[in-house]
Symmetry: C2
Subunit: 309 residues, 2 copies
């Protein structure tokens, strides 16, 4: 196996094969690739990272495809990290429609990576952001993280972006909207997809009302609401412009520093949690587990011993 450090020149030159290899190793979290990821980290920080979330059925994946296609036509290099089990990028919904991504795959200016959300031993957020680092260092200047907006892990991933889009669709039921209510507050930009539908204006109006009632996350940035239709292409260019406006705002106001600190904090913690999990597996996990299961140690005592506290 080629040492991960030897993949770095290829990654920095943007060679897709080396990018794919390093992402695979980073995703697994192997110790072997850690020095490479650390070396690569200083080459990151150039890309604009966009988080896109919304419940399944909100038209998120179709929107990502439309956005990526439009940005590509403007000469941007696009990286997509999809961690939505219902996304066609991630292999399609189990019972939903599968949309093929033929228009984008095969284009060397586009790199698509999907990640499983389950069975990832909790390292999902860390793995996804390591993948973003590789893409960033490889010169992809617009990186989209797509995730379904349910669950703390998914919300943490999408928050670790510079510009967060929350996608709503007209006509979804109250039950689904209730899940979504918890993620509306993280939006820098609201997107109402499928805006050709007759009840789209009501959804846009509902969102605007909600925004007026809520305290914005940043008093100087009132999240705009953009209606889009992936089918007719309506609103896609406006959305790209709005994303750029938010990017400019972050840099001109200096708020980008807050974002970068928030992302750094989340990444340190997620990585530390994964290291603790590895330490546990390596050091007497069975012994600790048996003692806690038999009530000889409390979970807190075992955790303290594990951390050497």
């Amino acid at each position: 196996m080629i040492p991960s450090l030897d993949l770095i020149p290829g990654v920095l030159a943007g060679r897709q094969r080396d990018v794919a290899r390093l992402i695979t190793r980073a995703e697994a979290g192997d110790d072997e690739c850690r020095p490479a990821m650390t070396a690569l980290y200083q080459h990151t920080g150039k890309a604009h990272i966009i988080g896109i979330t919304g419940v399944p059925g909100s038209g998120k994946s179709t929107l990502v495809k439309a956005l990526a296609t439009a940005a590509r036509q403007m000469g941007r290099r696009i990286g997509i990290v999809a961690i939505d089990p219902s996304s066609p990028f991630s292999g399609g919904a189990i019972m939903g429609d599968r949309i093929r991504m033929n228009d984008l795959s095969g284009d060397p200016g586009v790199f698509i990576r999907s990640m499983a959300t389950r069975g990832s031993l909790g390292g999902l957020c860390r793995a996804a952001l390591d993948a973003v680092d590789v893409l960033d260092a490889a010169g992809y200047d617009l990186i989209i993280i797509e995730t379904v907006g349910v669950g703390q892990d998914e919300v943490e991933v999408v928050r670790a972006s510079h510009t967060t889009l929350v996608v709503s669709a007209p006509g979804l039921g109250d039950d689904i909207q209730a899940i979504k209510a918890g993620i509306l507050e993280i939006a820098d930009i609201h997107v109402v997809s499928k805006c050709d539908k007759p009840d789209a204006q009501r959804t846009i109006g509902d969102l605007k009302t909600m925004l007026m009632l809520d305290m914005p996350r940043d008093p100087n940035w009132m999240p705009p609401v953009v209606g889009t239709s992936a089918e007719s292409g309506k609103g896609i260019d406006e959305l790209l412009k709005t994303i750029q406006t938010h990017h400019n705002y972050l840099h001109q106001s200096g708020r980008i520093q807050d974002r970068l600190r928030m992302i750094a904090e989340s990444r340190i913690l997620k990585t530390a949690e994964e290291l603790v999990r590895r330490r546990f597996v390596r050091h007497q996990a069975g012994h600790f587990i048996a003692q806690v299961a038999q009530r000889q140690l409390s979970p807190y005592q075992a955790a303290q011993q594990l951390l050497g506290e």
Copy 2:
């Protein structure tokens, strides 16, 4: 403030006020209550812990209420830990119906505790299981953890039970079913709620077909599918019996030991993760964050330093 250790006699005697106090402190994860929680831990392990999950709209909360009422009539003492934002136990869905729990509250044999799923700094699973410990030590012999089945954290909570119920409802759309597909596999018992509805038989049939195609989690326990109607009371007694059958199976087969080890493992890790988060806040978090944000340290290097590796 009464020291937490002094609350223990009251908790062991089942005094609701002391139970409520200790749960509040345990939920916050204060260091002060740690010795008390450790002392209490050896008094746990008597209750049958039932995890109930399902997407919003599946009729989960109504089912919990019906189950608790029926079990109460059989003389069981019931503890409920609700961490479902759409549950009436947790204060009701944001946009959905609110069902009052009048029939149960006020009964000293029932203790209901709700927990927020968001903003809990990741300690949700740890906090919920600490609450279960307090209820277990206080003599509640049937403890129900209710959570919405989306997100890794929620799945981990509900897996930390002896018997896991996954609730499906007839007529929910494919989008919602797609989310749920990831949690079907954790069921020991499947419940199809609202089984008075005309399409309930189809949902029951679909589930049975899926179960025949799937490898069961335990080859000696094929998860049964029970249809219930909270309105007519249909199936509730059968469900209680099925829960008892699963309990008997776990103990007679010895599989309960696997469960207890799995739960112990999850708890040690969750507690260790929370300790790491606290250590981070206490020790130069700002310094680490700035260095990582400025690319002077990689997230991995910072995490290693935090853990003293």
